[in-house]
Amino acid sequence: MIKRTNVKLMVLSIGLIISFLSHAEDGAYVIEAGHPSLKELLLPATPPSPTDNPWTQAKADLGKQLFFDPRMSGTGQVTCASCHFPERGWEDGLTTAVRFGGKVMQLASPTMINIGYNTIYMWDGRMPSLEKQAFVGQGIKADISAGMEELGVKEGRHIERIKMVKGYQTGFAKAFPQEPAETQISRETIAKAIAAFERTIISNNSPFDAWVKGDKNAMTAQQVNGLKVFVGKGNCVACHSGPNFTDNGFHNLGLKSFAAADHHKGRMTQKPTHPSTDGAFKTPTLRDIALRAPFFHDGSAKTLLEVVEHYDRGGDVKTNISPMMQGGLGLSKDEKLSLVAFMEALTSPVKPFVYPVLPQ
């Protein structure tokens, strides 16, 4: 006859074994709504700000106006939002960007969604911060003023326009009260305000987030299966990692456009002595990806299924391709559709965007 003490010990041992098996080992995720191993995939409520540009509502409000203000451009007709539409996933819905005047660029407009959580910026990583990007982006040769230098438009003309607007004088004084009057409206303060606004463009309450927080019904069975493929057989998490689903790294995915002699060199533009970086581009976030067709840095995939098919076959152009692409994935049709469904679950509820009233 088994003693009561022995039975208790057996039950305790079995409980401990079950607990051990269900706990994540070596960083692996346990695919269960609310499991602690998944909590690291939740974004902080707000992105960090640098110490020399602490976030304030006044800066963000000002930055929002500047982001949508055509007076910021050389022509007076282009804004940051001309390529970053709120209603197009903060991209432009085009295969690749088209500048004012009609020049078709080699790269797609990247999203602004969750950009404040990134650590390096632009497809080739040439910008170390949002402030630097917004500073350089005001240059006469930059995108929103492209072609103006040839017409004799002077560097910094937009600052003179902004300074003349009474509403901006008030706005800059409110946003930068410590700044001396003579430098309160400058290329630098404009950049800081725009960066502060960009840090408010956040997607962090998708069905996936609700499921991670414990709502078992937030994702469908197909979406949960897609998550399993994402972290398992598909190993998408190798590059689309962390709460913003990007490693901020650079990878060559073997897209067909890489075969062109004049292909964009991507990261190699910043690391010219390292040919291994030729054709490597920054991993974008997958948050709200379903709102951001077409896909890839060259816009070559029209649907998320086309994206999955690309990875499943191991890419197209094998020269310089990432080792993570080699061999393909061997996914079944169900697994591919589940992956697509999971990516759709990364979409936060879409709210109508309120455009700013521009100061006069």
Partner: protein
Amino acid sequence: MSKKTNILILCGTFILGCMLSIQSHAAEYTASQKDKKFNPEKLKIKVGDAVNFVNDDNTAHNVYSESATNHFELGMYRKGQARKVVFDKPGTVEVECLIHPGMKMTVEVSK
């Protein structure tokens, strides 16, 4: 054997002995790549020592340095693979990953 030959043999033996002595004192260290970080992030070694860069991560890395004293690129490799670098000059070597710019470590090489 002439006196000259004996001296030559002695010198050769002495030089060979020194080389073997240096080699036998050269150490090998391990720098692991895991969770897109190096471990350790700071290493102090001596001239002639080697560092074995081991990929323990679920993604490929490409370890490199553009430091004046030790300039190298190990190429992209995946989990389970390792590549070794012998540091043969003194100085501070900044090591990074070409794929993941946030991955950095420093190797201090002393004489």
